[in-house]
């Protein structure tokens, strides 16, 4: 397995190597050692490459990922998998703020907890958090699914659009225009699939679903108190 040791290799060389391998559809998995909190590790990959990061990363690990599978054997800093288009990103530890921000597709799995604004402005990505998430998560979330096995902090789903939120534990408070919704069979199926993909030991029936009340979709002065 090719190994890129970040104690001896510059970030530019690491990413250029991974980006070229992804583009060439290289079958061989890569390993990155000694990331030591480096920013923008394994970002901009465009192809079905497998990458394992042996340690914790800084900001924007796996940013804008397309098709690649990136596994961080540690924790991730802010904005992990931001604007991901497709592929899979797995974080063994915790994730900082803005995990999966604006993601358009793919699957982000966080086996620990995620900090505030997890899934902010998400646009189609699926995010599964085995632990809990912080405040203002799924703020202005547009599309996709956010699954939380633990608890959610304040103002979950504030100004939510069409993303689906599933929380097994408690929700400290719901944000503007976010309401609990009926869990229908199709939602249980979506949830079962995501839990299976994320290797999560939980039953879909244990979750509650939250979504947009859609009362703020068109500006109405009578709703001014909601802002």
């Amino acid at each position: 397995m090719p190994t890129l040791d970040m104690s001896r290799t510059e970030l530019r060389e690491v990413n250029a190597t991974l980006q070229a391998a992804a583009k060439a559809q290289a079958n061989e998995p890569f390993e990155i050692t000694n990331p030591r909190g480096a920013h923008a590790v394994a970002c901009g990959l465009d192809g079905a490459l497998e990458v394992t990061v042996k340690g914790s990363t800084g900001y924007y690990c796996a940013g804008m990922n397309k098709d690649a599978t990136i596994h961080v054997e540690g924790s991730a800093g802010p904005g992990v998998a931001e604007n991901m288009m497709s592929g899979t990103v797995v974080i063994d530890g915790d994730a900082s703020q803005y995990a999966g921000a604006t993601g358009h597709g793919g699957l982000l799995v966080i086996k620990g907890n995620a900090s505030s604004r997890c899934g902010i402005s998400m646009k189609g990505i699926d995010i599964v958090v085995h632990g809990s998430i912080g405040h203002m998560s799924a703020f202005m979330a547009q599309k996709g699914n956010l699954v939380v096995l633990g608890d959610a902090g304040d103002a979950l789903g504030d100004s939510l659009y069409e993303a689906r939120l599933f929380v097994r534990g408690s929700v400290k408070s719901l944000g503007a225009d976010c309401v609990e919704k009926e869990m229908r069979p199709e939602h249980l199926q979506i949830l079962a699939d995501l839990l299976a993909k994320a290797g999560a030991d939980a039953k879909p029936e244990e979750f509650k679903r939250y979504g947009s009340a859609r009362t703020l979709y068109n500006f109405n002065i009578d709703n001014a108190d909601a802002y």
Binding site: H39, C43, G58, Y59, A101, S121, F139
Partner: protein, 440 residues
């Protein structure tokens, strides 16, 4: 003989316009939203004059001696800087607020003139990519339509922190302009109002911005120039922080810069005039030893070649036009006067761009209205206009004895008013003094 009476006198404070707005607010309960930039009179380039050549300076011969206009943007870190023939670019305007043919026309006109155009909130369309030889891709808080493929096929990336019409504000594209195509590009349902956030979702502050810029460079192989666009709020510090964060180019937009839709109170009461922003921004770059290494693009109220030349003389490397480009395409053309009247306005004053009923077919998604704009003809008009701006700028530069428009300098200028003298830091006409000049 009748007794003389007092002439009815309208209050200056409670003018007809003010009273009309009070009545409108009382009737509707909502603030006024409109497009465009500040309409109030503020100190501007009109308040400056070029001195011209004389005994102490000799001029260049018009039509004979060369006065270069080329500009290179992104020389600091980018592997592939942008080479433009003229120092005038087209500002970011979104597909969604503008029609597809209007975006195409901007691309056509800019390309014919040898300059760049810029995407906007809502992503990159084939119309503009296909017709823009050089296209700057905006990276906005909403990230509508943002994807790495478009990032890589752009010629430069512009991280938008703010804009002059509304520093500190986001935007709202109203549902009537959200067609199936616009909605699809933005991953939102058709027909709903679409909020554009005022802050980026995954970074705050200059230290984060530095890391964000690093990520964008890593994704694009350090090829693309990275611009940072700021509104005219605190130009010295914002420019310094953008440069510190690693920008190749800074786009500075004063309060006359337009927007597709924002509250009138925001447009008219937040931010500084373009004229007041340039010198502090240039000073910040000079203090960092980065003037000309980090290029400065100034926008907000650029209309003539004189405006272009004055902005360059104050230290800008290039200017950007938005509203003027739309007017060149055909916006607010008096030939649509009857229709403007039906909308309760008049040609030259129409600013309800967010409503999507633009008679000129530019700020609309209505298929019938859009069809009124011929993108080829409109593109040629924009090309002509850009050529005139360039010729005018060259004329003034030659008159000041400059063989390149970048050689224009503050010393070539004087000011007609105390305010303009203070803002531009050039002498009040007939004096060697300006307010705040050291040593006085």
């Amino acid at each position: 003989m009748s007794t003389p009476t007092t002439e009815p006198r309208q209050s200056w404070t409670f003018s007809k316009e003010t009273n009309a707005e009070i009545r409108r607010a009382a009737a509707t309960g909502i603030y006024d939203i409109r497009g465009g930039g500040a309409k109030r009179r503020v100190p501007h380039f009109d308040d400056l004059l070029f001195l011209g050549a004389s005994i102490s300076r000799y001029p260049l011969e018009g039509y004979r001696e060369k006065c270069d206009t080329a500009v290179t943007l992104g020389t600091r870190f980018a592997k592939t800087p942008i080479e433009l023939k003229i120092p005038i670019t087209i500002a970011g305007m979104s597909f969604g607020s503008l029609s597809g043919p209007a975006k195409e026309a901007l691309g056509r006109g800019a390309t014919l003139a040898g300059t760049s155009t810029t995407t906007g909130d809502g992503g990159m369309t084939e119309e503009e990519r296909g017709h823009s030889e050089k296209l700057v891709y905006q990276y906005l808080p909403s990230r509508y339509g943002m994807n790495p493929d478009d990032l890589r096929r752009a010629d430069a990336i512009e991280v938008v922190v703010g804009q002059g019409a509304k520093p500190g504000g986001g935007g709202m594209l109203l549902g009537q302009k959200i067609t199936e195509r616009v909605a699809g590009m933005r991953d939102l349902p058709q027909g709903i109002d679409q909020r554009s956030a005022c802050r980026h979702p995954d970074w705050t502050g200059p230290d984060d911005l530095e890391i964000k810029i690093l990520e964008l460079r890593e994704i694009t192989n350090w090829e693309k120039p990275i611009y940072v666009k700021i509104g005219g709020a605190r130009p010295y510090y914002d420019t310094a922080l953008a440069a510190k964060a690693g920008a190749d180019v800074i786009v500075l937009d004063g309060m006359q810069g337009g927007t597709a839709a924002t509250q009138d109170v925001f447009i008219e009461h937040v931010g500084q005039p373009t004229l007041a922003c340039i010198r502090p921004a240039v000073q910040a770059l000079q203090d960092l030893g980065l003037h000309r290494e980090v290029q400065l693009i100034v926008s907000g109220g650029i209309r003539t070649g004189a405006d272009v030349a004055k902005a360059l003389a104050l230290g800008a490397d290039a200017v950007s036009i938005g509203t003027a480009a739309l007017v060149a395409l055909g916006d607010n053309d008096p030939k649509w006067e009857d229709e403007y009247r039906k909308l309760g306005t008049t040609a030259g004053s129409y600013d309800d761009w967010h409503e999507g009923r633009d008679p000129a077919g530019i700020t609309t998604q209505d298929p019938e209205l859009m069809a009124r704009l011929d993108p080829e003809a409109a593109g040629r008009r924009l090309r002509n206009y850009l050529n005139v701006l360039t010729l005018e700028c060259q004329t003034l530069a030659r008159a000041c004895g400059k063989s390149h428009v970048h050689n224009l300098e503050p010393e070539d200028l004087c000011a007609l008013t105390m305010e303009a003298a203070a803002m531009a830091q050039v002498p009040l006409a007939g004096t060697n003094w300006w307010p705040g000049k050291p040593g006085f």
